[in-house]
Symmetry: C2
């Protein structure tokens, strides 16, 4: 295997991605310097993606990089924050040879430019080769994303109140169906539908523009990483409420609708599967009329999918999904847990 040394790797592949930000110090220092705009709070989040767990070992490396960045930007979007930069810690494996890393850095650079976000710093480590004394291990990416939001305006998970509307951006279930398709666990899918679903799994779209516009409008917000019911369940838990969703109101893409027509049990993937990275948020009734405007301004469809209800008093009463006749649909997999 050909592989650059640590310093050469940083200088050749990653330092160019920091060139827009003087505070990144060309990645030649121990730390980065970052200006947070006056009157703003810093918003910080960190997420790890592991080959074979959070992405497939045969996923194209440029898309792996872009996904790792995007899932972190998605966390900032859910807070209504504007991204200001990212730190990246990667641990190389036997599989990450020079061509892999070049493609990875190319994808990362492409997306950093697309979102106007600089690489501020990082760390590059490597697993011991299994052939040597070590145990080896998979390629792992940890990104810490930093953003800013005017003080007091971040949208938290804890603000949902009974009576409010529950809304979801885009369409849901596509990413989980895409993973199933990649794994050969779906009946034959037309090429265009296959591309749509797999594309949604491999390259989520962080809803940054929508997040910014939800400030002062949404009472709580979360990005859908663990699954629709699990993530809205997180809002419920910390807000002390429960949520009632209508199955027929959920936004389902044509590609996903076709899969559901073939196999209704795939409903469970729509409700429990993760990785869509859409925003789910709660909205005071008074802001109901804002929904159409938000969708028009951002070009992202927004669906009203249910209501926030008073807690029943049961611990973790969470999210109920009602079918067409008002009967609750059992959700088998209540979200993805990473441990």
């Amino acid at each position: 295997m050909t592989r650059r040394g640590e310093f050469e790797l940083i200088a050749s592949l990653f330092a160019p991605l920091s060139s827009e930000a003087s505070g990144a110090l060309s990645l030649t220092d121990d730390a980065a310097l970052i200006d947070v705009a006056p009157g703003c709070e810093l918003v910080a989040t960190i997420d790890t993606l592991i080959a074979g767990v959070h992405f497939r070992v045969d996923d194209p490396p440029d898309l792996v990089a872009r996904k790792a960045l995007r899932v972190n930007l998605s966390d900032l979007a859910a807070k209504g924050a504007r991204p200001i930069g990212v730190l990246q810690a990667i641990t190389l494996s036997e599989a990450t040879d020079d061509p892999y890393l070049e493609a990875y850095a190319r994808g990362l650079g492409e997306d950093l430019r697309h979102f106007g976000v600089p690489l501020l710093g990082g760390d590059t480590t490597a697993h011991r080769s299994p052939a040597a004394a070590g145990r080896g291990g998979p390629f792992t990416i940890t990104i810490a994303a930093l953003g800013e939001v005017p003080r007091g305006q971040a949208i938290l998970r804890r603000g949902a109140r009974p009576g409010e509307l529950v809304c979801v951006s885009g369409t849901i279930g596509d990413a989980a169906l895409g993973l199933f398709a990649l794994e050969g666990r779906l009946p034959p899918v037309s090429p265009e539908h296959y591309d749509v679903l797999v594309g949604r799994y491999r390259l989520p779209e962080p809803r940054l523009a929508l997040g910014l516009r939800l400030r002062g409008v949404a009472s709580a917000c979360v990005d859908l990483s663990d699954g629709l019911c699990a993530d809205i369940g997180h809002i419920c838990e910390v807000s002390g409420v429960r949520a009632e969703l209508q199955w027929h109101a959920l936004p389902i893409s044509p590609a996903a609708q076709r899969r559901l027509a073939d196999d209704p049990s795939l409903k469970q993937l729509v409700l429990g599967g993760g990785d869509d990275y859409e925003l789910a948020f709660t909205l005071p009734i008074a802001h109901r009329s804002a929904v159409q405007g938000l969708a028009a301004q951002t070009g992202i469809p927004i669906a009203i999918v249910g209501r926030v209800r008073e807690s029943s008093g049961h611990e973790r009463d969470g999210v109920t999904v009602l079918g067409e006749n008002g009967e609750p649909i059992q959700v088998e997999k209540s979200g993805y847990t990473h441990v």
Copy 2:
């Protein structure tokens, strides 16, 4: 193996470590909110530690946590920054059962309190079990540390100028000798010396108080993680200078002196070994008289170990170490590279 689920792990072990910081949102949200003091810049750094690479799999888990925190705080110290919080992403392995993680969290909590730094957020993931479809992998800790420094006052690596003094805090070589002792690669060592050396390897001391006082005094600073010559070499490279150190001026602990008396070839560990996490900095001659005061105020010995010289024009001419008769000592291992 008994192991808590992701959410239970966070709620029981890590959320208590965030209780001092309201912006950590009890670790129940997607991101943390952080206030940077007016007039200050944010300083951000990230470092990964891998079991079997950066710490030994049999190192006590509470010390592993404390070391992971401290190496990141050390990066902030080198910039003259005050820490304001950390984000932690851990990837669990087969070996990190409940008792391991409880000890880990206990150590982390102890040190966060000690340094007055809150845990602001994190991510908990797990390697696939090798018994399942996955490949497994070692316990991995990535910490992103955030600090603040009055705007324009951060001490960078790039400020060293010819004629300046090169200084080092504490003593050097102990950590590398400690690792050798743990690995059984040293001749018999007295119990007290063994404890000193191993302690320095397992539990470095981030020189935060010294870093704060070096603002406006030091022209460049780095923490010694890769090795004395390698890290001072980083200053040289980005400052466009070289450095000449005097072997006899290097601060060596009694425990290390004893090892060197037994085996002079261990000199190489002092010059090339890493993990001491002392600060090396350059000082304009005009500030020479400040050295004693800095040492007295912080209680940390400071040694003047050499001079900054004009670049010879050779690429990467870096660091020369001169022996007692002025002859250059060959440095075999020019620092630890993590790839």
